[in-house]
Symmetry: C2
Amino acid sequence: TIDGERLWGTLMETAKIGGTAKGGIRRLTMSEEDKRVRDWFKAACEAAGCTVTVDTIGNMFARREGKNPDLPPICMGSHLDTQPTGGKFDGILGVLAGLEAIRSLDAIGYQTNAPIEVINWTNEEGARFTPAMMASGAFAGVFTEEYILSRTDREGTTFADAMDAIGYRGDTPLGGRKLGAMFELHIEQGPILEAEDRMIGVVTGVQSIRWFELTITGAAAHAGATPMPARRDALVGAARAIEAVEAVALAHAPDGVGTVGILECRPGSTNVVPGEVFLTIDLRHPLDEVVARMEEDLRARLAEIQGRLEFGLERIWVSPAVHFDPVLIGHVREAAERLGFRHRDIASGAGHDAVYTARICPTTMVFVPCKEGISHNEAEESTFEQCAAGTQVLLNAVLAYDAT
Amino acid sequence: TIDGERLWGTLMETAKIGGTAKGGIRRLTMSEEDKRVRDWFKAACEAAGCTVTVDTIGNMFARREGKNPDLPPICMGSHLDTQPTGGKFDGILGVLAGLEAIRSLDAIGYQTNAPIEVINWTNEEGARFTPAMMASGAFAGVFTEEYILSRTDREGTTFADAMDAIGYRGDTPLGGRKLGAMFELHIEQGPILEAEDRMIGVVTGVQSIRWFELTITGAAAHAGATPMPARRDALVGAARAIEAVEAVALAHAPDGVGTVGILECRPGSTNVVPGEVFLTIDLRHPLDEVVARMEEDLRARLAEIQGRLEFGLERIWVSPAVHFDPVLIGHVREAAERLGFRHRDIASGAGHDAVYTARICPTTMVFVPCKEGISHNEAEESTFEQCAAGTQVLLNAVLAYDAT
Ligand SMILES: NC(=O)NCCC(=O)O
Ligand SMILES: NC(=O)NCCC(=O)O
């Protein structure tokens, strides 16, 4: 059995790295804070007897040998990066639970058949660099290494430069090897488990996601001397675009969601009619064909509101719906059952690295509740008991799978 | 008569200081570029025999003595700061025309009765620090020195620190002395003079302006896992606010204008429902009572769209409509007439430092056309002939006034 106190201790200790005044974390991919948590993770895993390797886009693999080193590793893990104002659990729980599982195995001298690996995937959040889950995606062959290295943040810094700045370009080649299975523990990031008083979510899959960038070009003009009819106000166009995104989501209720998360308005002066706006659009629905229709709907609405502005819409990411492996799902459900935790099957609204590992190995996820479903927010919260329960289910499912 | 070539030379030479790839200027108040153009201006004025003093908020006064040094000075000038993507003429023409007037007087050894001063007012644009025209306003006693020094830019830098960083805190006390008159030459920043083929605008006054800051607070949430009805999306609220500002202006057509010029969206990540938005609102109309009604209208509309968001509206600036001095207006009209320039009376949609000097001394303005009325844009353009014509009218009006 895992040690809940020890697990909680690592959660609270690492939460200080990039910790914010409001109790959250700001630990953007390849930032100084990311370096510090990576250093911490490497040291902790090595202290637990693991060998840590880092691939050429910064993914970290902490390996504990099995009786049969030739078997492909059974993997646990998630990500240690956060949103700009993120919480203490999103991603982090999944990595530290993997570490806790290894420490627990060490404590009783248990040796698995297959090697175990705990993975810290680079830039799952997609906050500093887009898209999300890009490094697990690259590991799975969905993106090329060149594509990842050349992605830029909103300041124009490339991923490659940011990675080199903190010294986390490793020498292990990207991907190209077999994983035996992937189990990812995560907080739900939605309200269902808490509302139904269930301790464990048996995750069956992840919904369909598409991301877009919209650049609106109008003409900068004087706010006092330019009559309303003469304006080509890019921000007024953006307002209509934001409402179009909302309308698209509502037209596909109750499951469709649509979000404008980033908006940059230029030149940005009180008395200048904005000449250019950049914004991002995130559309989701459980069904791929509905997200495709949402995109069509969005394009039609944008064409209607464009007027004398230029709308440049670019689709930058398509992540189809994923159904996890029935066998692994069974192991998770059984572990929850045996441990006496109330559980239910659940679909994920958030994307996860498990989405991409599912393309190359049997994959599933374990969810635990989080308070009021709040996530991507400094107020994100899960309890000691919930974190411990999820970690125990994770370990039991891994050991059950290893025994087969 | 003024030397149009020499004037144009100074316009093009200083345009290099902060010059942009698109032919505009980026020379924000108290930036490194502002320092360089201030150094240039000081040196040029001293070379023309003027004494240059700088007051405690960076306003620069280049003085050429008159026959009677005890008379209050007749002033020309405007500002050398620009918008983030500003043009080569807005403000700059008014200052360099003053310099050209002095050089022309020097060339023929003409001594005026009253001293002449050419003024470079600090931060007319209101781009880096709000409000606009803040330093002429402080000179006129509308704002305290403490208020000015404590204004912060969007990065949180105070005006005082920015000023000290470039070494332009002078030792001349702010205000507290009499100006004899103020004549400000400026480009129209609107389309009327060009459309009617007039060379000179005889400016009768400036319209009424109010500025606001709106902070919208919602709740940051996960873009994938948060159903639409559960959201408190600050950016969706901002979209409705932008459309409310537009609606307020249109409800007071044809003269009402309303603009959201700055918008900051936090935390700013593709997959995070925005939790907070900051934006600015600029409302204008020729009549004070109509701008007051526009503000009421705005408040009512914001209350209606607020929903479960918090809207914090703060009015940060009120600049009532101004009517310039009839005697000075007469001198400008007569100068244009005598020089044979087609002219018309015109009201200004833009605010100017003349708005505040009008509170403490007889004040008026001279407008020249600019291409298609485009301003606060790198494409801003006036011709050699237009700049020279305006400068000649300026000088003739000043000399006519000096002779009375
Ligand atoms: N788990 C999580 O918040 N992932 C971010 C990727 C996304 O769903 O946008
Ligand atoms: N002339 C000019 O552009 N002034 C800026 C002040 C304003 O009108 O907002």
